[in-house]
Symmetry: C2
Subunit: 483 residues, 2 copies
């Protein structure tokens, strides 16, 4: 609980209409897209300007009050979960596009601007903003920066970090700094690069200059049906090895296909592994490469290869893919969305191992993933009403992460570590690696008030033993109710 | 001078043949490609393994001895200049390619591996390592990492940072850590990103995993002659605005053309501004886009447009471009190589302003630059034997940097800050911005022994006044004798 004096300070900083402190209103902010963790904040502040953000953060620093920034609350790893006793800085009112510089291909926005609105603002001039998380119609650029958001098209276009040129940031001390530069390769340390993906632990971005990209002349999408993951995986490797860089290569397994079909009737062939390959660029290039893609799919035993004849068909294919998470609700009462990365070439063996692990505990795992860059999204299906099944599902989902690390991969591709995967960080990184990150964190946030208790393993804080990661009963995984 | 006891420690760490301590041998290491600054190190160590590097750094930490890593010594900003009383860690003996993983498109090397050798090792399989500084045949990957090296083709392929996946690093404390990950978008802070380009101030890379790229199906190069920089600059903007991403767009002015012609007889048309445009990719795409490039050059009044008919002609065009720096020796006894960045669209006005500034002090400035990404290399020509002219040339070169910053650009595109441009950092960044970088530096190097006295302005240390940068008489710019 905040004292009336501190509340008055906050009200003076953000205006009376910029402060929420009533219990029932605060509950809206108790979690993000990861709903297994909930913590009601002690207050929510809605600043309108960088100066107001500075004032609020200075009050936090003076009274050692933790803060977490929040955009649309669509994160899947609990990044925007409040800290006990902490406030939420909502960027709902800082949602202006400040500058559009088409000639230099950049757009400057406030953090509350919705991802899709950036593209909307420049589409008429033939440009778009490339990172496209599935939550694109609602998620904000501030949140994308915090989590280094990806999307189906980051195989070709890169993650958010590739598209952030310059950031205005309020440090946890209340200082206002500029990180990065409006040009390529700024001198000094690449602090814009380290800030993007730091999940709110190094400060709060208040202004972001984004790189926009010229819209390609054409976009073509193909689906190919395979009877084995091994063949589909080989087709992916062959496409990349041929020197092509598709804008997206997605793979879905039978369970996903069935769920997506039930939801949107995308007319997918039902098969063991469905590939979705999208090429964009000049017409001459795309047409020529699409012939190659088709040949490589067929030479890897695809039994149906279908090129979307027009934009309507193309969008329907994508609608099915993007609905895949939510569609799980049609075939399972509950499910956990996981997010791991493996070397592309390890796909077949990892999927076979996941299948073995799932069968051993009598659960089903649906798989949908960005096959081009090896970013897996296993969906662990379970029924919460069956006693003990949630724990088994959680345990399975963590063991899948371990498998990813063991195969030379990573515990998250694009959802972030947040609150969900803190312990898994200890499985992936050595103690000195983590200590180095912690020293950087302290360099930015000596008081430890910027989204504390995120990213890093909490073993030492909690007095738990160090060593290989043992899932804590309370460390529940990403049950996505958002999508 | 090191005590015999410390020398014995170093000899024990690196072996007797891994220690150089004789004055005449040490002089080889007194500077890098920026020869205006010289400082003989107290010893040079030549480790063979990461473990030896750790031992050496621990000795430095115990005795507070500064160290700087050195690859081929081709840097142009004094990054490898020893600190007074400090040692040099030479990576001449850590030059092995450790692993080639074609399927996952990565190569792991020791820091002393020469840039061009990475491509040589994978070329037979159709791959190449993209960053191509002009010093490519001799410079090392360790140095490229320290300076975040670029090259003519980073317009399309990006700088070194885009191609570094994972780093094994010996911290200034002697600890061995891994930064980054072998996959995309590693969780936690992007410390590989902050390390690349940190110019040796955060530690020493001992193992580097690089991303390699599939060699394009074809490469075509065109030159176009313009009678005005404004027209050539407009052609560059039009090419980019048309949605094309050439692998390189270079521009040279009359002085550069004349010098390059004299050196290699590349048969360049003599004109005010010569564009060199290179496209690579699938044959169908390149052929179609080359037609567009030609049209855009002609519609901007190019009076000669010539497409290299074969690889021999193409390589000759590049030979002239890459010889441009060294060729300056044919038209001027001395010259300063500068390195600044401006928004692409500001090219004509910046070049006109540089011309005005040069005329005002009766000096000539030749200009060669990576026009696609606005990276300028003005070459300030002068004669050291004329009393006072070097100072005037240095002052002019610094004022050109200020101009770049004033136009929304940067003080370095690819050569780094090093010893040369420390003061200009204070012109480009605010005090809080620099303080944030310093805190990160201290997080890695609390004792201040890793290449200290580099990057950051030295005003405070020297008791000089803060404020807009005034060139110090000793702060001489990059007189490149390397190229």
């Amino acid at each position: 609980m905040l004292t009336p004096a501190i509340l008055a300070e906050f009200a003076a900083a953000a205006g009376r209409d910029g402060l929420i402190s009533e219990e029932n209103q605060l509950q809206t902010y108790e979690c993000d897209g990861l709903t297994n963790f909930r913590q009601v904040p002690v207050a929510v502040l809605l600043p309108r300007t960088s100066a107001e953000v500075q004032k609020i953060v200075r009050i936090c620093a003076a009274h050692k009050i933790p803060f977490v920034a929040r955009g649309a609350g669509t994160g899947l790893s609990g990044g925007a979960l409040p800290t006990a006793g902490g406030i939420v800085l909502s960027f709902a009112r800082m949602n202006r596009i400040l500058d559009i510089d088409l000639v230099n291909q950049r757009v400057t926005v406030e953090p509350g601007v919705i991802n899709a609105h950036v593209t909307a603002a420049v589409a008429g001039h033939g440009y778009f903003y490339a990172p496209d998380p599935s939550s694109q119609p609602v998620c904000t650029i501030g949140g994308n920066v915090a989590e280094n958001a990806g999307g189906a098209h980051c195989l070709k276009y890169g993650f958010t970090v590739t598209h952030v040129m310059e950031l205005e940031v309020v440090l946890p001390t209340g200082e206002l700094v500029t990180l990065g530069a409006p040009t390529l390769d700024a001198p000094g340390y690449d602090l814009a690069g380290v800030f993007v993906g730091s999940e709110g632990t190094l400060g709060v971005a208040t202004k972001i200059t984004l790189r926009i990209v010229k819209r390609p002349e054409t976009v073509r999408t193909l689906i190919a049906a395979f009877d084995s993951v091994r063949h589909a995986g080989k087709a992916v490797s062959d496409i990349i090895a041929a020197g092509m860089l598709p804008s997206a290569i997605e793979m879905m397994d039978t369970l996903c296909i069935e769920a997506a079909e039930a939801a949107v009737h995308a007319k997918y062939p039902v098969c063991t592994a469905l590939l979705l390959v999208e090429l964009d660029g000049p017409v001459t290039e795309v047409e020529a490469q699409m012939v190659q893609v088709r040949t490589l799919c067929e030479s890897n035993s695809a039994w149906e290869v279908r090129l979307a004849a027009n934009d309507a068909e193309r969008l329907l294919i994508w609608k099915g893919r993007k609905a895949a998470f939510a569609a799980m609700g049609r075939i399972s009462p509950n499910y956990i969305v996981q997010d791991g990365v493996i070397p592309r070439t390890a796909l077949p063996e990892v999927l076979e191992e996941i299948e073995r692990m799932a069968q051993a505990v009598q659960l089903r795992v649906a798989n949908v993933f960005h096959a081009g860059d090896g970013n897996l999204h296993p969906l662990v299906l379970y029924d919460r009403t069956i006693a003990g099944q949630e724990d088994i599902a959680l345990d399975l989902s963590y063991r899948i992460l371990h498998l990813c690390v063991d195969k030379g991969g990573s515990i998250t591709g694009e959802h972030g570590v947040g609150r969900e995967k803190q312990q898994a960080m200890g499985y992936m990184f050595s103690e000195p690696d983590l200590a180095t990150m912690q020293r950087v964190r302290i360099a930015f946030d000596p008081a430890g008030i910027a989204n504390p208790d995120k990213i890093f393993p909490r073993t030492k804080l909690c007095g738990e033993k160090t060593g290989p990661y043992t899932p804590h009963p309370l460390e529940t995984a990403g049950v996505a109710e958002f999508f």
